[in-house]
């Protein structure tokens, strides 16, 4: 992960968001991943998503563990604090950061090795805790940095580069997340930016943990014939269950038609958030209802048995209660509370001491 600074070239004609910032203002340093790596497409989609949402760059926190995926926070939002922690432990570091300062937008980037093996426990408990975090799994079925071992998401029968089939059943983060009460679950493909960007935007705005499993092929170790995580396989087996878009509160008044236009005509429905914003869906699969956890689970499982990769915003809980709601903590970020409001002082101590007589 040698650092290569990205040259900043000014193009006066670049489009600006409502903060007057261009997409360039949301970029990071140059990627050192392999040319064609799916992760770089996810990075590009993330930059697009945060630019469109007009998040002030320094008001985001980028969290990651260890691995190729965990390098990516270096490649976007150079004006945000980033934390490249230890392998599989991004969820706990993010939980602590969110506990201390709920005012920031947290973006966690993990991988299938980081989240489904060494960090499986932490991922599950972060989902249970429902901290306000966009949790991206860049899922490629292999360990890249250590040269191509199968990860826990590799499908049974999927072949390694040397032709050896994987014998163990996979852990599917989507089914797992649905089964342990995740409040937002989506799956997408690094090669489908049109689908991915709205999902990331919705995930960022979702008040709770938004798990987004992104099939993100490893061009070096897992993009061959026989792999079920290759570009070709994913494109061929891709099945979209729903399309989604994020609608900000003000957009309901000013730009509702325009936002709707992002979605193909069909059965459009809004899931309203408490702040007045909404996630807008269009069902693609027959009878698909992304607010019905059990049916979402059944559908994903059923299509999986038919060797399809179901994508889209698969589940959202409109009544999501995040970590702070459950803990009952104050609205003010904890770290900003003045010391005078935290320390009870000498007089209070004296009466506390009387209780220990």
């Amino acid at each position: 992960m040698t650092h290569i600074a990205k040259p900043r070239v000014l193009h006066p004609g670049l489009e600006k968001n409502e903060l007057g910032l261009t997409r360039r203002d949301y970029e990071g340093s140059m990627s050192t991943l392999c040319a064609g790596c799916g992760h770089d497409s996810v990075t590009a989609a993330l930059i697009e998503a945060v630019w469109e949402l007009a998040i002030p760059p320094h008001r985001a926190g980028k969290m990651s563990g260890i691995g190729c995926s965990s390098k990516t926070p270096a490649y976007f939002l150079s004006e945000s604090h980033g934390f490249n922690s230890v392998h599989g432990r991004m969820p706990s570091v993010a939980a602590g950061a969110n506990a201390a300062n709920r005012g920031l937008t947290y973006i966690g980037v993990s991988g299938d090795g980081d989240s489904l093996s060494i960090g499986l426990g932490q991922m599950c408990h972060a989902i249970r805790r429902n901290l306000d975090l966009l949790y991206i799994i860049e899922n490629n079925g292999v360990y890249g940095l250590t040269k191509g071992q199968f990860s826990a998401s590799a499908d049974r029968g999927s072949k390694s580069k040397r032709g050896v089939p994987n014998e163990q059943p996979p852990i599917d983060p989507v089914l797992l997340a649905l089964s342990i009460g995740a409040s937002f679950v989506a799956r997408s493909f690094s090669g489908d930016r049109d689908q991915l960007v709205p999902i990331l935007k919705a995930g960022i705005r979702h008040p709770g943990l938004a798990l987004v499993d992104v099939i993100s092929p490893c061009v070096t170790f897992n993009d061959h014939v026989g792999s079920t995580k290759s570009y070709a396989y994913t494109r061929e087996h891709f099945r979209e269950a729903s399309e989604a878009a994020f609608v900000a509160p003000k957009d309901f008044v000013a730009e509702a038609d325009e936002i709707t236009a992002e979605l193909e005509p069909g059965d459009v429905r809004d899931v309203r958030m408490h702040d007045g914003s909404a996630i807008r869906f269009r069902r693609v699969g027959e009878d698909y209802d992304p607010t019905d956890r059990d049916r979402a689970y059944d559908y994903v499982r059923e299509r999986q048995l038919a060797e399809e990769v179901v994508t889209g915003l698969l589940f959202i809980d409109p009544d999501s209660r995040d970590q702070h709601d459950v803990l009952g903590t104050v609205e003010q970020p904890l770290w900003e509370i003045p010391f005078e409001d935290l320390c009870p002082g000498a007089a209070a101590l004296s009466s506390i001491m009387d209780n220990y007589r």
Binding site: A95, G121, C343
Partner: protein, 608 residues
């Protein structure tokens, strides 16, 4: 043996039968009578049904270390009769439940047996199995009051405070049981015994508190807002206490919402991660654990050290290795915490001796963590953390403000050209940090991988060395800021005696004895690591230094040999590590063993 206000007794019961309340009541009554007292709970890792003991030492002279010499034993658990009777000092008293006959084989000629039919009395006076069992254990409080002259008005007062008017029925049944035990003893036995209490006024400015509650209170006063933990004996009560205090002291007036986030993690790894994340994001944050937890947190501790994230770890030590004996005490994590995690690491450690220092050092630990931007460990142990100690009331200076260390705020960031996280701007080894979200110029990438002083990833030797060498300077410079050792010197000392933490009481008591025997010692209790210069000077000033501690491998002594220039031959280890709090006799026998062998060696050398 027996004196007024100078004796020890022990109560053997079955755990989960309410005896903890009864024992606490006795401790608190003696405390309220103004007599120095200590209580040691010797309990099993179990919820209900196993033997448990509570040891109380009364000492008007102020000797409150554990003693293994018991003048009186209350044997309420037939399963342990044999052992309890055997442990009794000659001439002592055994109080037992005479509802059933005591086997002849257990009799001892040099002990007075006092039978009280607690079970029978409670069956007659109370309804229901559970209440009868609970009241049987309250009844012995009454008998002890009669035998030891515990002030019944004090007992009554404490019960009233506990139950108040709202639970008057409980007050009545408890006091009824106490009277049963009290009256029976007064009628049948000569009360009080030669070992008995007389009111004093030694405790007017003292409180009775456990170290975990004290440390938790320190965290409240230090302004900690995030706590993450995983349940583990003997540290659990620290976070429990923090939770309790926060419910009273940390509610936002208008909303009733909490100004603290207390997160029960899925394991110790996650607890450490949460603390590191919270500290990185600007909060004062801590975790509380024991040795096994520190082992699990090792990887994260290295990250916090290398990425320079301030955070506080309370290690309430228990007996290792592995699961060890979870409900017994030791000082066995001294080396573990000093160098926790892989690679070259070294950490600031604080070693409180009692609950009062737990309170003070809790506050100090956050200041040091933020000033030096590094993990800080507070090492107490099961004895300090879970037992009730009589200590001076805690004090607070309202002028205190947290030392947040070198943090650049939005204003300062606005004024500088560029910010580099790991640049040694002031030449003191401590860089500046920023809090996420404050200002675009403050952004940097925190990583546990090799980084340059500018915060960039590196695999370059020179860049790497520059950062790790600065870290070494930074941590060593903390020696001047950790609590100084407590030193008591005399001009004519023959030896130095060094100890740590909760050994203090036992060592002081032993020193009185040794000095009465004509041996002269200088005393030093180490309170922080890295060691201050005074530590080295003290060791150098004595040809022979005894190092008293509670672990098998002489960890404090090892650390002294590693971190000072003292020759190994000038240190003599005195250890006790069986899991109970240290007693003066452990110190005495260790010192005598060494001096005896020295005398023998000298004689041998002379004859050769």
């Amino acid at each position: 043996m027996a004196h007024v206000n100078e004796f020890a007794f022990k109560i053997g019961t079955v755990n989960g039968t309410g005896s903890a309340s009864a024992n606490g009541l006795i401790m608190q009554s003696i405390f309220r009578m103004g007599v120095p007292v200590s209580g040691k709970n010797v309990f099993p890792s179990n919820i209900q049904g196993l033997p448990t003991w509570y040891e109380i030492r009364v000492s008007g002279a102020g000797h409150v270390a554990r003693t293994p010499e018991f003048d009186l034993i209350v044997a309420m658990n037939p399963e342990t009769y044999a052992r309890d009777i055997e442990e009794l000092a000659p001439g002592g008293w055994l109080l037992y439940d005479s509802s059933w006959p005591m086997a002849d084989t257990l009799q001892r000629d040099d002990v007075t047996f006092i039978g009280v039919p607690f079970a029978d009395m409670c069956v007659k006076s109370f309804e229901g199995a559970r209440e009868r069992i609970l009241m049987k254990n309250i009844a012995y409080v009454g008998t002890l009051a009669a035998l030891l002259d515990i002030d019944m008005d004090v007992i009554r007062g404490l019960l009233e405070e506990t139950f108040g008017e709202r639970k008057k029925h409980l007050l009545d049944s408890n006091f009824t049981a106490i009277r049963l035990g009290y009256d029976y003893a007064l009628e049948r036995y000569e009360c009080p015994l030669p070992i008995r209490l007389e009111s004093m006024d030694e405790n007017d400015e003292s409180i009775l508190i456990d170290g975990n509650s004290a440390a938790a209170l320190g965290c409240v006063y230090a302004g900690a807002t995030v706590a993450a933990w995983y349940p583990i004996t003997p540290s659990t009560s620290l976070v429990d206490a923090f939770t309790g205090y926060c419910k009273r002291l940390r509610l936002e007036p208008d909303t009733g919402r909490s100004r603290a986030a207390i997160i029960q993690a899925e394991d110790e790894l996650a607890a450490a991660g949460i603390v590191i994340g919270a500290s990185w994001a600007g909060a004062r944050s801590f975790t509380s654990t024991s040795g096994p937890g520190i082992s699990l947190m090792g990887e994260f501790i290295g990250l916090a050290y290398y990425a320079e994230v301030p955070c506080v770890f309370f290690d309430v030590e228990r007996v290792g290795p592995s699961t060890g004996m979870p409900t017994r005490t030791q000082q066995c994590d001294i080396m573990l915490c000093a160098y926790a995690s892989h690679g070259d690491t070294k950490h600031i450690c604080l070693y409180p001796k009692d609950p009062r220092e737990c309170f003070e050092f809790a506050v100090t630990s956050f200041d040091l963590a933020e000033r030096f931007q590094t993990p800080v460990f507070v090492l107490s142990d099961l004895d300090i953390g879970m037992n009730d100690w009589v200590v001076p009331r805690f004090e607070w200076d309202d002028e205190y403000r947290p030392d947040r260390g070198k943090v650049l705020g939005p204003q300062e960031l606005e004024e500088i050209e560029r910010f580099y996280r790991y640049l040694d701007v002031d030449g003191d080894g401590i860089p500046y940090r920023t809090i996420p979200g404050e200002h675009p110029k403050g952004a940097y990438f925190t990583r546990g991988s090799g980084h340059t002083k500018y915060g960039q990833y590196t695999e370059d030797s020179e860049d790497y060395l520059e950062v790790v060498d600065r870290l070494a300077v930074k941590i060593d410079s903390a020696a001047a800021a950790v609590p100084a050792p407590e030193i008591r010197s005399r001009p004519d000392a023959d030896y130095g005696l060094v100890t740590i933490g909760g050994c203090d009481g036992a060592v002081r008591e032993a020193l009185e004895q040794l000095e009465a025997d004509g041996m002269r010692f200088d005393y030093m209790r180490i309170r922080g690591f890295p060691f201050t210069d005074e530590v080295e000077r003290f060791l150098e000033a004595h040809e022979l230094n005894f190092v008293v501690e509670q672990n098998r491998d002489a960890q404090l002594m090892s650390l002294l040999t590693l971190e000072t220039s003292i020759a190994k031959q000038r240190l003599a280890s005195v250890k006790y590590y069986g899991g109970l709090p240290m007693s003066a006799h452990h110190v005495l026998s260790g010192v005598h063993a060494r001096l005896g062998s020295e005398v023998a060696q000298t004689a041998e050398g002379a004859s050769a």
